[in-house]
């Protein structure tokens, strides 16, 4: 049983590491690094996997855990309570596929615009960028599908306006 759980854990982390990292990058604000947040998410997945009941898909669950951990880590940092575990088996290396300057600028504009949003709106837009359906976003955020659909139109418009202004 334990071995089965460990195998599932390995598979889940391997399959979802990129999406976890994307979320961590958005929430990381100095002195928090995306790598620190990534570790926190991995630890939380490890701690909670045995309690995962399968009511939602594993992917939806991972999004929920990642958003919660990233948000609460920021809160913990605000309270200067940064007792964290450091995992040596996770390494980050600069990819050869380094983006060009324009791509970097575009990402920074996107990041800056997302950071101005409220926590709820931020999680909606992140999940939308991850191409989740309104139904899945509703399941993760606890909002209704209708509410998200209405909100999404407005958020998308204001986000595009913000990005365009930043890139001018």
């Amino acid at each position: 049983m334990q071995n089965q759980l460990e195998q599932s854990f390995i598979q889940i982390i391997e399959d979802n590491k990129d999406k976890i990292y994307r979320i961590c990058k958005i929430y990381a604000v100095t002195p928090l690094e995306p790598q620190d947040l990534f570790q926190e998410v991995v630890i939380q997945v490890w701690r909670s996997l045995s309690t995962f009941k399968g009511k939602s898909s594993i992917s939806t669950w991972i999004y929920k855990v990642s958003l919660n951990v990233c948000y609460s880590s920021k809160m913990k940092l605000d309270k200067s309570n940064n007792n964290t575990v450091r995992l040596e088996s996770i390494h980050f290396a600069l990819s050869e596929n380094t983006r060009d300057k324009i791509q970097k600028e575009k990402y920074e504009a996107l990041q800056a615009c997302i950071s101005t949003l409220s926590e709820k709106v931020k999680s909606i837009i992140i999940l939308h960028l991850e191409e989740l359906s309104y139904k899945e976003i509703a399941l993760i955020t606890g909002l209704s599908e209708n509410h998200i659909a209405v909100k999404m139109k407005r958020i998308r418009k204001s986000l595009l306006k913000c990005i365009t202004n930043k890139l001018k």
């Binding site: 575990v85 088996s89 390494h91």
Partner: protein, 90 residues
């Protein structure tokens, strides 16, 4: 902005988002990660529980001290009243 123009920009934003995890290669040594999590996380949790118990103990003992003092004061006052009552009867 035209509808099509908005769609194109949004598509580009989505691409930028999707590629944002490609700047770094995440290398995880899974077997050692499991070993590490088993040792470090449980130790971390033990330490955390110890810290919590210490905090609870400090606050509880402080609360208990105050509560005992309050009770003694009440008992004292009742005894004084009883003594006064008997003194008056004499």
């Amino acid at each position: 902005m035209l509808e099509q123009e908005l769609k194109d920009i949004w598509k580009e934003v989505k691409d930028v988002w999707r590629n944002s995890s490609q700047t770094e290669k995440i290398n995880i040594q899974m077997s050692s990660l499991i070993v590490e999590l088993k040792s470090k996380v449980s130790q971390f949790e033990k330490d955390s529980i110890k810290r919590d118990i210490k905090t609870i103990k400090t606050f509880t003992s402080q609360f208990e001290k105050k509560s005992i003092t309050k009770d003694i004061r009440k008992i004292k006052s009742v005894i004084t009243k009883i003594i006064e009552y008997f003194n008056l009867k004499k």
